[in-house]
Subunit: 221 residues, 2 copies
DNA sequence: TTGCCTGTGTGATTATTGTCACAGACAAAC
DNA sequence: GTTTGTCTGTGACAATAATCACACAGGCAA
């Protein structure tokens, strides 16, 4: 059961919920529950069954694949207004998770039970359309990612990653390596190269982009 | 408009269509059209808009990402009974294709117009469920692929690819390289290694697996 | 201040993959 | 037969990335 305050924020983050008829909205809000998770929590992991459909109010989730040797690669990030499509996939395919989800910041999640999810999907065009779009976008992202991992060099991918963030970037080299699926040393070396080109300035846990245009050109060949 | 013979084959390949009410079935069959495409046809390509929802009667489609330098990597393969989820994604997200589809053999396709696709999706639980499952499966495949490309060595991926096919395998080294997103020479060299281990026997456009168990062990570390 | 812990820089070395440049082998076409 | 084109083998080399093994710097806490 949600408070009115939570409900308002939910409708603000998820405008498509406003299109649901009043009764459905009420039912949804009655069956949903709110969860708070601290940063760093493993929200879900490979081979776990799936609880329900999460709607993110605040914080975001890194969805990653972990390699046996400890390396990891970020598949995508879930931000408020989106939902973890991987979860939808589990719910719809009745399978288990195939990746790990990690809370990047503290999370505030509204969890929609599986039953309510299926009901909405059957009855509500707006909801269905929303879920389909999520799937569609993720599919596109993943295909783009496969392509990048298979065909692009790490320096290009790093450049692209940097310009996708807003300067100044507060992040460790290790975290960048984890997004790229590479090792910390490599990232450090490549960053040094960028700095020598005058494209970035570096500090402890901080990177300032000095020449975004040059980075961009470099990133897409 | 479909002939009765085509209709029967369609219902056989796509059992979920049988669950549609008679009227919907009739409408679907009335608006759909059949296409025949020779092997090697580029069925769709990046940045093309999308025509309709394809149902495969025979033949299959390789969905690939092409690199600027001519290399290519297979994302997945569409076989009869499935549909190209990428197309669904385009239809639903109203975006363009993000990959290329190539007819591996001659194709016989029933093309469902976009409008009919949307209608069915709204009205028919069976159809909707089918499409969701397609999405779900592809998502899983792609995540698996990303993981393999990022973390596995080529020899392991090649071994896995070989055991996924039925021996004797009729294929060129170049075609294997294209599935893996690598170069022909590398595949040739790795195969030579496998042959020296006694895991495979090689001939022109043919590979016989002699020790599937060893290959399998090698493939998953 | 003195440690400690985390984050970063760096060299040396290796492994893996890609690239180039051919040569030979085989099959189908002429 | 000869020719032609595709498929395969191979050596040499370059490029990229991974791994290992440290040194050092800065901030925080005892």
């Amino acid at each position: 059961m949600l408070t009115n305050e939570t409900k308002d924020r939910l409708l603000q983050q998820y405008p498509m919920l406003r299109e649901l008829p009043g009764a459905d909205q009420a039912e949804l809000l009655a069956t949903a529950s709110v969860m708070h998770l601290p940063a760093g929590t493993v929200v879900f992991d490979e081979n776990q069954p799936c609880q329900g459909f999460p709607l993110l109010l605040s914080g975001n989730i890194r969805v990653v694949k972990a390699a046996p040797n400890g390396r990891e690669l970020q598949l995508y990030r879930v931000i408020p207004g989106e939902s973890c499509i991987l979860t939808s996939s589990c719910l719809l395919g009745h399978t288990r998770y195939h990746a790990r989800g990690i809370a990047e910041q503290a999370l505030e999640i509204v969890l929609l039970p599986a039953a309510a999810f299926h009901t909405l999907l059957g009855k509500q065009e707006a909801f269905r359309s929303y879920v389909f779009h999520l799937f569609s976008d993720r599919l596109t992202d993943l295909m783009q990612l496969v392509s990048a991992v298979a065909f692009q060099k790490l320096d290009q991918r790093l450049a692209a990653l940097l310009i996708s963030k807003s300067s100044p970037i507060h992040i460790t080299h290790q975290a960048l390596a984890d997004e790229l699926g590479s090792a910390r040393e490599i990232v450090s070396r490549l960053l040094k190269g960028f700095a020598e080109q005058g494209w970035v300035k570096m500090g402890r846990e901080q990177i300032d982009i000095s020449d975004a245009a040059a980075l961009k050109i470099f990133a897409d060949l």
